[in-house]
C-alpha cells in the first residue's frame, strides 16, 4: 500500500464497478420494460396511476406505512403470499414501471399491500380502518376532521357524536384512492413465459435450489 494513487484508484474502481453493475445496468435494463400490450384486452398493462392516487402515495410515504407493510408478493414456492390471497402471482418489475418511489418495504407487521385494491371493497372501508385502527394496526385519526352534523363536506362520514360527524380529510381521501388503485393481476406475456417453472421442477416444499 505504498502507492497512494493506485490505492485510491483501486478503491474507486471497486465502487464504480458495483455501481455500473447494479445501478446502471439495472437502470438500462429495466428501462426497456414498457407497458405490455395485451391484444385480448386491447389495452396496455400496467395502467398508470390516477393523479389522486399518485398524491396518495405521498401520504403513504410521509406516514411511513412501509415500515409495517410490504408491497411485493412472493412466488408460490416462497412463502404463502399467494395462499394468503395477496396476489395471484409474484410481483414483477414491470408492475412498478409507473411508480416513482416504490414502497417495497422490509417488514411485514401487517399484510402485503401490493394488490390490496382488489381486496378493499370501498373507500369507506379504508376510512374505517384508518380512523379506528385495529388491535394490531395503529389508528390514523389525525387524517380525519370534525365537522358539524349536516355540513356539506362532500365526504363520507366515518363516525358521529352528538352534533358532530367525523369526515376524512383530503389526505385521507388521497390515501384511500392510492390503496384502491393498488392492483396488478395482469400476466404479462414475457414474464409469464420466463418464470413458468414446470410443475415437476417446482419443489413442493421450499428447499434451496440444488447447488
Amino acid at each position: 500500500m505504498k502507492n497512494g494513487p493506485i490505492f485510491f484508484l483501486s478503491l474507486l474502481a471497486a465502487l464504480t464497478f458495483s455501481w455500473v453493475g447494479l445501478a446502471l445496468a439495472s437502470h438500462r435494463q429495466l428501462d426497456s420494460l414498457v407497458p405490455y400490450y395485451d391484444p385480448a384486452e386491447a389495452k396496455a398493462f400496467p395502467e398508470p396511476m390516477p393523479g389522486i392516487a399518485a398524491r396518495g402515495q405521498l401520504v403513504y410515504q410521509d406516514l411511513g406505512c412501509a415500515s409495517c407493510h410490504t408491497q411485493q408478493v412472493r412466488r408460490a414456492d416462497m412463502g404463502n403470499d399467494i395462499d394468503r390471497k395477496w396476489g395471484t402471482r409474484q410481483s414483477w418489475a414491470r408492475d412498478y414501471i409507473y411508480q416513482n418511489r416504490v414502497q417495497l418495504g422490509l417488514v411485514r407487521v401487517g399484510p402485503d399491500l401490493a394488490n390490496v385494491g382488489a381486496r378493499l371493497k370501498s373507500a369507506t372501508e379504508v376510512y374505517q380502518l384508518l380512523y379506528k385502527g385495529t388491535a394490531t394496526m395503529p389508528a390514523f385519526a389525525f387524517l380525519f376532521s370534525d365537522s358539524p352534523l349536516g355540513a356539506q363536506t362532500g365526504a363520507i362520514a366515518v363516525g358521529q357524536s352528538e352534533g358532530h360527524q367525523v369526515v376524512p380529510t383530503r389526505r385521507a381521501m388521497e390515501l384511500a384512492a392510492y390503496l384502491l388503485s393498488l392492483n396488478s393481476p395482469h400476466a404479462y406475456g414475457p414474464e409469464a413465459a420466463h418464470n413458468a417453472v414446470k410443475p415437476a421442477e417446482a419443489p413442493k416444499s421450499a428447499e434451496e435450489p440444488k447447488k
Binding site: 500500500m1 505504498k2 497512494g4 490505492f7 483501486s10 478503491l11 474507486l12 471497486a14 465502487l15 464497478f17 458495483s18 455501481w19 447494479l22 445501478a23 439495472s26 437502470h27 435494463q29 429495466l30 410515504q61 410521509d62 406516514l63 411511513g64 406505512c65 412501509a66 415500515s67 409495517c68 410490504t70 411485493q72 412472493r74 412466488r75 416462497m78 412463502g79 404463502n80 395462499d83 410481483s91 414483477w92 418489475a93 412498478y96 411508480q99 416513482n100 418511489r101 416504490v102 414502497q103 417495497l104 418495504g105 422490509l106 411485514r108 407487521v109 401487517g110 385502527g133 385495529t134 388491535a135 394490531t136 395503529p138 389508528a139 390514523f140 385519526a141 389525525f142 421450499a206 434451496e208
Partner: protein, 467 residues
Amino acid sequence: MSSPSQAIVSESDKTARVPLVLLLVSAFGWLIVSTVLSLIGTIQLHTPTFLASCVAFTHGRVDAMQESAFIYGWAGNAAFAVSLWLLSVLGGTPLRGLGLLTTGAAFWNLGVTAGVVSIAAGEATSIPFLQMPGYIQPLLFVAAGAITTPAVLAWTGRSSDSTYASQWYAVAAIFLFPWLFSAAQVMLLAAPVHGITHAIVANWFGQNVITLWLLPVAVAAAYYLVPKLTGRAAAHYEFAKLGFWSLIVFGAWTGGRHLIGGPAPVWVSTVAVVALYLLLFHYLVVAINLPAGLFAWNGSATLRFVAFGLTAYLVNGLADVITSTHAVSQLLHFTYFSVAQSKLLLGGAFSFLIFAAVYEMGPRISGAKWPAPGLIGTHFVVAASGTLVTVLGLAFAGWSQGHAQAETANNFAAVAAAAKPGLLIATAGEAILLGAAIIAFFHLVRLQLESFSTASSSRETPAPSAP
C-alpha cells in the same frame, strides 16, 4: 482497568481536540436520541395505540427518525471521529484543516437535526437509509466533504511510507462515502430513477453505507486496538490485504440481498447471495488476524468491547449467508429477524468497536484520564446485556412471527400475538440500551469537564516519556 496508563498521555495530541470532541459528543448525544426513538418504535409494535394520536410520532416517522439519528447522527459522527483520529495517529501527523473540520462537523449535525425534525413534520423520503428530505442532503454532502478533507490530508501527509491495515480501512471509508452519497443523492432524489431500479439503487446505497463506510471504520478500530492493547502483532498479517480487498470488492455487491424473492430481476439477488458467500473470506481473514481481540473476554474493559464487537461482526457475517438461503429466507425475510440482524451488526459489531476506540482515544485527545474508569466496565456490562436482550428478543419475535405467518389460517391478530413475547423482551433490551447510552454520554462529558480543570490547573499537560 482501562484507566489511562502513562503511554496514553505520552501519545496524546490535543491539537484536534475541538472538532473530534464535537463529533464524539454529538455522536453520543444522537445515540441517546436514536435509542429513545427505537424504544418508542418497539413499544408501538406490540401496543399500536402508543403515541398513535400524535402525528409526529406515528410509527412510520419514528422508524425513519430513528434510522436517521442512528446512521447519520450516531454512526456517522462516530465513524468520522474515529477514522480521522486513526489516520492521524498512525500517519504520525497531527490533523490539518481543523477549521474546516470543525465547521463541517457543526453543519453535519445541524443538517441531521434539521433532517430528523423534518421527518417528524412529514418530509421523510421513504427511502431506507436516505430518509432525510432532499433539501437537507446537499448540506450533508458538503459537510461530509469538509470533514473528510482533513482525513485525506492526514493520509497523504503521513510521515512513513509504510501503512497498516487500520489505515486502509479508514481511508476506504472516508474516501468511498462521498462517492456513494453523491451517487445516491443524484439517482434517488435529484434526478431519480423509476420503478424497481429505484429500489435496486436504494439497496445498493443502503447496504454500502454499512459495508463500505461504517463497517470499515469499525474494522479499522479493531485492527488498531488489538495489537495496541494486547502488545501482540496481528497474526498471519500477510492475509490482511486480501481480507481488506475482499470486503471492498465483494461487499459492494451485497445490496440485492433485501430483494430475494422480490420483484427485481432474479440476477440482482443471485449476485448478492454470491457476494455474501464470498465475503466469508473477509470474515475468515479478520478471525485469523485478530484472535487476540476475539478472545479477549478477560482483558481490560476496552478489550472486552473489542471482543464483543468482533464476535458480533463474525456471527453476523454467518447469519447473512444463512438467512439468504431460500429455505430460511422464505420464513424470516420480512420479519423482525431481519431487524434483529441489523441491530446485531450496527448496535453490536459497529457500536462496540467504536466504543472501544473512543475509550482509547478519549483521554488521548483530551489530555485527561477517564474520570471514573470503573464506569467503562459498567458501560460494557449494561451495553452488552442490552444488546443481547434486544437482539435475542427481536430474533425470537421474528422467528415466531415467521412461523405464525407461514400458517395461512393465522390472521394478523394471531401473528401479532405470536410475536408479542419477543417484542416485550426487546423492549426491555432497548430500555437497558438507553441506560448504556446515557452512561457513555455522561462519562464522555465528564471527561471533557475534567480535562478543562486539569488544563487550567497546569497549563501544559506533563508528557512523561513512554515506558
